[in-house]
C-alpha cells in the first residue's frame, strides 16, 4: 500500500484525522520506516503546530509536548532526571528525530523512554481533551491509542529517588536486552509507593508489580534488594527475539535491577 501524507496546521486537525484512522507522523523514526517498507497506513497526517515542541517546567512537574525530541530533552537542564533515559535512545541522529510521544508507541524492543515515564507516573494529555490519562492505561494496549497524544505531564522526582538502566549488546548504542526504571520515594528512610517499570520484558513497557510490592515500606538494604532480585521477573512475560530469549531476560532481570538499586543507593 502506498501512503498519502497530509500536513495540517493544528493539533486539533491532526487529532480529527487520527480519529478517522490516520497514522500520525512525528519524528519519523517509526512511521517513515514503515512507509519505506510499504507497511504504513494509507493515510498519514502530520502537523506543523509549534505547540508540539513546547516544554513547560513548573515546580513539581514538567510538561513535554509530544513532539519534543530526545535531543531537546537532553539539551534542557531542568530535565536532567530524564537524561539517562533520553541518552540511551538510538544514536545521535535518532535522538534528533525521535519524539517523546512517538516513543510511547515504539514497538518492542524500542520504547525505553516510555519505561522511564511509566516509572515516573507520567500522564498523557490527549489532543483536545483536558486532564491527563495515566500512562499505565495507555501502555496496556499501545496498538490502539484512543486519541492523539499532545503532551506528557511528568512529575519531577526528588533528587536521588529515580534511576534508569538500559542493557544493550552493543555499545554505546544498541537496542534493549532490557531496560528498567525505578522511582523510590522515601519517607523516613523507608520506601513509600515505589514504581518500577520494565522495557523489553513484555509486549511493551510494563510495571514491575512484584518488585514494587517487595520494596514498599522497606529500607533499601541488601536484604531487601536480595528479596527483590529473587522475584524481579515474576509477572513479566519477556519476548524472545534476536537479541535474547525470554529465559535470558528473566534470568538477568533481577541482576540488572539489583545493579540499578545499588547504583541509586550509592547516589
Amino acid at each position: 500500500m502506498t501512503s498519502t501524507v497530509e500536513t495540517v496546521s493544528t493539533m486539533a486537525e491532526a487529532a480529527r484525522a487520527v480519529a478517522q484512522g490516520a497514522t500520525f507522523l512525528a519524528g519519523g523514526t517509526i512511521v517513515m520506516r514503515d512507509v519505506n517498507a510499504g507497511e504504513a497506513a494509507p493515510r498519514i497526517v502530520r502537523t506543523i503546530d509549534p505547540s508540539l515542541n513546547d516544554i513547560r517546567i513548573s515546580g513539581d512537574s514538567v510538561v513535554l509536548g509530544a513532539g519534543v525530541t530526545m535531543a531537546q530533552v537532553l539539551a534542557n537542564r531542568d530535565l536532567e532526571f530524564l537524561h539517562p533515559a533520553a541518552r540511551m535512545i538510538g544514536g545521535p541522529q535518532v535522538r534528533n528525530m525521535g519524539t517523546v510521544g512517538g516513543n510511547l508507541f515504539a514497538p518492542h524492543p524500542y520504547g525505553d523512554f516510555a519505561v522511564a515515564l511509566l516509572a515516573l507516573g507520567a500522564r498523557a494529555v490527549m489532543a483536545g481533551q483536558s486532564g491527563g490519562r495515566p500512562l499505565d492505561d495507555l501502555m496496556r494496549d499501545r496498538s490502539r491509542s484512543p486519541a492523539l497524544v499532545a503532551a506528557i505531564e511528568c512529575p519531577r522526582p526528588r533528587a536521588g529517588s529515580f534511576g534508569f538502566l538500559k542493557v544493550s549488546r552493543v555499545k554505546p548504542k544498541g537496542v534493549s536486552v532490557l531496560s528498567v526504571a525505578a522511582l523510590l520515594p522515601r519517607e523516613g528512610g523507608r520506601i513509600r509507593g515505589p514504581r518500577v517499570a520494565w522495557g523489553a520484558m513484555g509486549p511493551g513497557p510494563m510495571r514491575g508489580a512484584s518488585a514494587e510490592r517487595l520494596l514498599d515500606g522497606q529500607e533499601l538494604s541488601a536484604a531487601t534488594i536480595d528479596r527483590v532480585v529473587q522475584a524481579a521477573a515474576e509477572g513479566l512475560s519477556p519476548p524472545t527475539d534476536a537479541i535474547a530469549t525470554d529465559w535470558y531476560r528473566r534470568e538477568v532481570a533481577g541482576v540488572h535491577l539489583k545493579r540499578l538499586l545499588e547504583q541509586m543507593e550509592r547516589g
Binding site: M1, T2, S3, V35, A37, G38
Partner: protein, 557 residues
Amino acid sequence: MIEFRKEFFADERDDDLNEVGKPTRRQDILGHVTGRSPFFDDHLFDGLLHMRCVRSPHHHARIRRVDTAEAEKMPGVVRVLTGKDVPTNLNTLLSLLDFGIDDEPILSTAKVAYRGEPVAAVIAATEAQARAAVKAVRVDWEVLPHVLDVEEAIKPGAPTVCEVYPDNKFIYHGKYDHQKLRFGDVEAAFASADHIVEGRYQMSPIEQAPIETCGAIAAPEQNDRYVCYTSTQALFFSLGTAAKVLQTPSSRLHFIGGTVGGGFGGKVDSIHEPLAVLGAMLTGRPCKYAWDRGEEMQVGAPRGAERWYIKDAVARDGRITARKFIGYFDSGAYTRLSSYAIIKGVGHLPGPYTIPNVYADVYCVYTNRTPATAMRGFGITGVDFAIENHMDKVAETVGVNPIELRILNSYRDGDMKAHRREAKNCALVECCQVVAEKGGVTLSPDARAATSLTGGGGERAQIPNFTATDEHGRVEGFDTGSYAQKASAAATAPQPPRTLPASQQPTSRPVQPPASHQPAIPPTPAAQPAQPAPPQKPAASRSGAMRFSSLSGFRRR
C-alpha cells in the same frame, strides 16, 4: 599499535623498492571522502523502473498457482515476471566453471525450498508501487514438510530439499556423497594413542553485511546492447551468468562495476544482474533490482553454518598423531558455492599442523534455508574455529601450554601436507613466538628456538606408506570425472544420483572404528534405503548444445 617485524625473513626480502611497500594513499580515497565515488546506485536514469520480488513465506512448498492479474493492474506496474519469462530458468553459479549441476531457478515455478525464495518479480515506476503490487500477487501454496538441521537432512526419509540431489547431499566427482581426505591410517593411530580428544563445533550462519546492499541497474544501450551497473564482486561471473540465464551473447552485455560498498563474499552470487537485464529487455526501460536491508539479511545468502566433529590421537608430549574430521556444510536449499568451499576446506585440513594421519569426510548438505554462499574466509573460517578450539582442548588434556602446543605441531618448510603437497613458505612458528613474546607467555627453550625453516622435511616429507581408503558414500548415476568437468557428466546422467544400499557398498577396509573410540563422532552416514522416485528434475537447460562460457570457454551443456 602496529609494528613491522622486519627482522623476520629479512634475507628473503629486498626492501629497496620505489613504490611497493610505501603507505601510499588509496587511489579512490578522494572520491570516498567527497561522496563522489560511483557506486552502482549512483548512476541516474530517467524513467528508472524498480523491481521487487514476490517471495515464499514457507520453508518448503509446492507452487500450485501464481496469479499476477491483480498486481498487473496496480498503479505504476509495468510488468510482472514469472519463471516462464526467464529464458533459462535454472542455474548454478559454478556451471560457468563446469562444476555442479544447474539446480536453482531464477524465479521458481514448481516449488520453493526456502523462506524468501522468489516466485515472481514486479516491475513498477516507483519502489513503493512495486512493493504494493508484490502484495497483490496471489500464490496458491501447498506446504511441504521441511528440514533445517544438517544431520536430520541426511537421515533416511528426510524431505528432499533439492530434487537434483535427492539425498540432500552434493555429489563429488560423480562418485561420492561427500569429499574425502585420506592420508595414512587414523584408526591405527587412535588405537595406540596416549590420549583421544574429541569435540563437536558449530559455526554460525553469518551475514556479510556490506553497508551497500546488493543490486544492479540495467538499461538499454546503443547497438542492441544492455549496460548493467552492478555491485558484483565478480564482474565476469555476473556477466556470464546473465548471458546464460538470458540466452544472449555476452557481447550484448556491458557490465560496469568495480566500486563496491563492501562485499565480504555476499556479492558473488549474481542474483540481481540477470533479472535487472531481463527487466530492461522486456520493458525497454532502465530497471533496478536491489535488496533492501531485510532481504540482504534473510534472503541474501549468508556464510553457511558448519558443523564439525574432530577426533585427535595425541601423544603424551602433545604431538598429534592422527586427526579425523566429519564435517557438514549447511548449503541451504541450493548449491551456490558451498560445494567448492568444501574442496577448498578439505585442502586446508588438518590446519597448519603436520599430522601423520588425517581423515576427513565433508558433506555439502541441503536444508530448507536460505542458500549459503561465500564470506570472508569461505571454507576456512568455520573449520579454523573448530580446529583452534580443539587445540585448546588438546593442550588442556596433555597439560601443555597452548602456544607451545601449536609450535610443537606446527608445519615447517618441507613437510608433507595431507593433500600430498609439500609445505613451503611457512611462518606459523614465528607468528606464535611473536605473540607469546608480546603477551608475556614464557615458552620453553625448544619452542623459542624453533623456526619454520628448520625441523621440517626428512621423514616429515614422506607420504605415508599405507593410506586406508574406502568406498563408503558411493553413489551411482553419475559418470565419474574430475570435479572440474562434472557438468558434462551430469548432462548424460539418466537419473538423479542415488546412494547405493549399504549391502552393495564396496569397502576396501572397515572405516567404522570401535565405538568406544569416538562417541562424539556420529557414525559414518549409513547408506539410505531407496526412496520413492523424486519428482522429475527440471531438465530444460540440459540440452546438448555447445555454449560459450566467458569463464571457461566452450563446453557442452
